[in-house]
Every structure is written in C-alpha cells, then in structure tokens.
C-alpha cells in the first residue's frame, strides 16, 4: 500500500477546455521512499505538488481519478480536514527561502505556529521544541536564532528554517520543490545532505523536485521524468540513467555538461516545450524528438511498462535485455 497514490491527475487554469498544465499524471510514492521528479521548466512538476497540497486557487481546476494520501482521499476532504493533513503529515519546502518566510515574524514564531496548529504545543513547550528543531536542521547558535527575523538570516540559513517548519509536524511525506536552486553551490550540497539525513532519520518519504540530475543520481531510488505536464518515464535510478528508454530522458541526460566532455557545444534538444496554442495532436515530444515516426504525430502514446521502466513512447530506446 503506497503512501501517496495519484491517478490521472489533471490541472487546468481556466475552463474545462483549457490546455492542461498537468495532463493525466499517474504517480505513487511508498513510505520512506525518495522519489525525484525532473523535467525542464514548465513541465508541471511544481503544479502537481501544489495541487496535492491544496494550494491551487481558482481559476485553477483539479481533477483526478484518485488522489489518496495516507488513507485520505484528498479530493473529498473539506478545507478544515485538509488543513489537518497539510503542514503535518504532508509538508513542503519551497524554492526561494528568502521570500518563503514572513518578514514580520521571528523564526521562533513561525516554527511555533506549526507546533501549535498541529501538535497543540504552546508557550515554553513550543519554544523548547522549536529549539530542538533548529538543532535538528543544524543551525548554529539556535537559541539566538529563535528571536531573529528572516532578513537577518542568509539564504542557506533561511532554507534550514523552512525545513525546520516543514518537519515540525513529523511529516510522512516531505515535498522539496527545487530546495537548492536559489542557493550558492557550496550551500546546495549541505542542504541536500540535511534533507537526506532527515529523510533517513525520520523515515519519511521525500519527493524531490529538481533540475539537478547529479543530485538525482546520488539521492533518489526512483525518478519520474516529466514533460509538458505528463510523466514520460518512471523508473529506478541506476537503470534510467544507464539505459533511458524515452527519447526525452535520453536528451535530458545528454544535456549534462560532463556527458559532452571534449565536444564543442553541449548537447541540446532543439525547440521548446509546447505551449497553449501549439500542443501537438500526437506525442507531445514529437516536434522535438530525433526518433519521431509518422505514427507519433497522429496519436498520443500511453505510459506502458517496458523492460526497465514505465515509458510513454511508441518506440522506446534501449530495450535489448542484457
């Protein structure tokens, strides 16, 4: 029984005919699992997670065959019921820590708020727990940081505070939406290490949205590659990296600078993600795919199991069984 089960998730902004930003996404996450979601900007990674957290507002519309988390049908929950889950069992860390914290309140206040909301901790007990959380995210001199305001913290420090807030309710699932993109390279490694340590320590599931394939290779067990709102390949980490079955996965991997060593230019996939008005009738990658066939331009491929992974392609690559 998986912790999170997403079946045929669609997110649209506008009426029912609007182009979906997330288009028929199927995804599941087991307890204590690390899943990475990769894909270029605009592929629907963040929107998927926002939908899960209930952070999509009108005119955004969510529909799904199933959206279950920890036994709750997230589609059926009332606002009040959802808020008991969100921020506690399912928490999220955002991309830019410098704007994610409220500038008017101290670090302590913002952490204690979660403790009061979900665990009923108040006063000294809440402060004590907030202090422990700051220690847990390895903030130096945590006592003095409790009364600090966000503008007094560096980016890395702010992200640690954001993580402390997210893990305050001891979540079963932590969603990290490009948690290191806005940080210095040296800090990035520290934050990743912290997230993974916490994940192991608390045995929580971690969904890691990232652009950084190197991070994925080192951290995740499973990876979901998204393109234009669809999952195009979902597979285990070493296999997907060694023998990508979807042309888009292959192109993503080829774009890692190290893979182009000695070449004049980095490998790229020409073109851009299809927008609102140029969404192809067939496979969404067909205008950019180097292996495209006529058939691909007519019909959309389903996400089918192949040798190593689930692949959304009529002509998957690397299918020879070793």
């Amino acid at each position: 029984m998986s912790l999170l089960q997403i079946k045929n998730l669609n997110v649209r902004f506008g009426d029912a005919n609007a182009v979906p930003v997330v288009d028929g996404l199927d995804l599941s996450v087991s307890e204590g699992e690390v899943l990475a979601i990769v894909g270029e900007s605009g592929s629907g990674k963040s929107v998927t997670m926002m939908a899960l957290m209930g952070l999509i507002d009108a005119p955004g519309r969510i529909s799904a065959d199933a959206l279950t988390f920890d036994g709750h049908n997230m589609l059926k929950l009332s606002g009040r019921q959802r808020r008991r889950v969100v921020g506690k069992d399912m928490a999220m860390v955002f991309q830019d820590p410098m704007t994610a914290l409220n500038p008017s309140y101290t670090v302590g206040f913002q952490i204690e708020e979660v403790l009061r909301q979900h665990l009923g901790l108040r006063g000294k007990a809440a402060r004590q727990r907030a202090l422990e959380l700051l220690r847990k995210v390895e903030i130096p001199a945590p006592e003095s940081r409790l009364d600090a305001y966000p503008h007094q913290l560096s980016g890395g420090m702010s992200q640690r505070v954001a993580i402390a807030m997210a893990i305050a309710g001891e979540p079963k699932l932590l969603i990290a939406d490009e948690p290191t993109t806005a940080l210095d390279v040296t800090i990035q490694a520290q934050i990743m290490e912290l997230l993974l340590n916490l994940q192991k320590e608390q045995n929580m599931a971690l969904i890691l949205i990232t652009h950084d394939l190197a991070v994925v290779a080192e951290t995740a067990r499973r990876v979901c590659v998204m393109y234009a709102g669809q999952a195009v390949e979902i597979g285990q980490v070493p296999e997907l990296f060694d023998v990508p079955a979807h042309p888009y996965s292959e192109a993503l991997l080829a774009a890692i600078p190290e893979h182009s060593e000695g070449a004049e230019r980095l490998a790229t996939l020409p073109g851009i993600v299809p927008g609102r008005y140029d969404r192809p009738q067939g496979c969404l990658l067909s205008p950019r795919c180097p292996y495209v066939q006529d058939h691909c331009r007519q019909q959309r491929p389903p996400l089918d199991p192949q040798v190593h992974s689930l692949v959304r392609c009529f002509y998957p690559l690397n299918q020879e069984v070793a």
């Binding site: 921020g87 955002f94 500038p103 008017s104 305001y149 007094q152």
Partner: protein, 336 residues
Amino acid sequence: MFSFIARRLGLLIPTFFGITLLTFALIRLIPGDPVEVMMGERRVDPEMHAQAMERLGLNKPLPEQYLDYIGKLAQGDLGESLRTRESVWNEFLTLFPATLELAIAALFFAGVIGLLAGVIAALKRGSLFDHGVMGISLAGYSMPIFWWGLILIMFFSVSLGWTPVSGRIDLLYDIEPKTGFMLIDTLLSDEEGAFKDAVMHLILPAIVLGTIPLAVIARMTRSSMLEVLREDYIRTARAKGLSPARVVFVHGLRNALIPVLTVFGLQVGTLLAGAVLTETIFSWPGIGKWLIEAIGARDYPVVQNGILLIACLVILVNFVVDILYGLANPRIRHQR
C-alpha cells in the same frame, strides 16, 4: 536610532520658522484689522483706531512686529487672545480635547471600516463588493466635507430625527469637564442618559470627518493586501495548514499594514484640516471652530499660535508614526 531622531529634530527648525512667517503674513494680508472688526459696523474714529492699534502694538513696522512675536515665542509666550484676553495656550488646552475626541472617533471609524472593507475587497478582487467599495471610496474621497456634513444633518437629524444637529451635549445636562473628553466626563458624571447623548452628538461629525481617511485607508489597504497575498510567504503559511483567517490576518494583514500605517499618519494632517470645516458645521467647540472665529475677528495671536500648535501636533504625530513604522517593520528597525 539616536542620529535618526536628531536629524529629524534638526529639520524642525526651518519648518517652525516657515510656519510662523507664513501665518504672520497671511493673517495680515486679509483686509481689515482687529480693531475694525471689534468696532463692527460703526464708523471708526481714526484717532481711536490709531490709539487702539498702538495699544495692541500693531502700529509698528511689520518686521518689528514679527521680531517681537518670535522673541515672545522664544520665551515660550504664546500671547493672549485680543478678544478674550485669555492666554492662547489656556484656550488651546481647553478646546483641544474636544477636537481630539472627534479626531479619535473619526480615525476609529475610518480605521476599522476602512481596513475591513479593504481586506474584503482584496480577497474578493473583481467582485461586486470590490467594485462597490472602490467606487464608494472614490466618491467619499472626492466629496466636499461641508456638503457631506450638511447632507447627513438634513437626512439623519432633520428628516429622521435620529441624531442632534449640533454641539457636543444637550443643554439639559450639566457636565463637569474633568478630562475634557465628553464621553469620559459623561461616564464619570451621575447624569442619567448623558453618555448616550454625548455618543449621539459624536456620531455624525465623526462620520463626516472620517470619510476621507476612510476612503484613503480602504483603497490603500486593498492594494497593499493584494500585493502581499501574492507573496511566497503566504503560500508557505497556507502550506503549514493554517486557517484562511490566520493566513489573511496574521500573515497577510500584518505586512499589508506597513504602508497603510504611513497613510494613517499622513491623514492626521488632513483630519485637522477637516476638523475646521466639520466643527464649524456641527458647532463643535474645538480648535477648528476656535480658529475660524479667530480668523473672522482678526485675532492675530490666536490665529498665529493656534496654527503653530496644530502644525507642531502634525509634526509630532508623523514623528510617532515613523517610530511605529519601525516597530511594525523589523527590516527598518534593524537598519537604524
């Protein structure tokens, strides 16, 4: 912080000189002089007139008069009224609580309703309520105060008879002025019904005086709130599972209030200017009415020093707002 205060205080000196010079000159530019006004319609005997002017020291050349005035000010002497022979400072102290009471009531009215309307309009952006609030506040902002006051008096006082037409309290009551605030004095007195009567007297003038600040606060709150609601930290607050009310009021409004607070401070000047008209319309015995009467009587010391005192007050309030601004916004507090 200290250097900030010192810098601000340094700026006050030229401001003071400007105000004294301006009021001194302006009141003397109005045709007529105190003696003529006192004599009224009667033909003024030139000799008597000259004697009276000499007694008041108004026959000296203007630069000399100004230097006399400044010299007295420097000694803390605000002079006395030409009409009542009462010291200007004492008259100010007696009348100021009435204006303060009216201003506080007006700001309370404007603040509570303006903030609520602004927040709701921002939350329901584009709705009928939003358009309604913005339309009405534009109308409120553009409305001449004296006209608005008269309309309200005609409707609520004359037609419906709900509220009294003018004054602070019915003549039936004999209230001892302990604090100068009628609401408090009536509560302290044992006259039955006096408090309610004082409240009824206060409602219309407070609404009239509060209308422009209300409009400004509602519009400012709305736009500030709209901006804040788009911020990342609002998303973070929602992701914590906090209730919508807490997200809006604790995380949103607190930040949205920072620019509103500045506007609030600036409104105090508008408010005192508005008090002049409002008090005249409602015969409210405050400093606004006092000044109007003093101008009519060419009561030079009252006009000059009354305006100077009001100017000091506006400066003081803005000073306090600046400090409050620092308290509300931790980023500024730490800069100083």
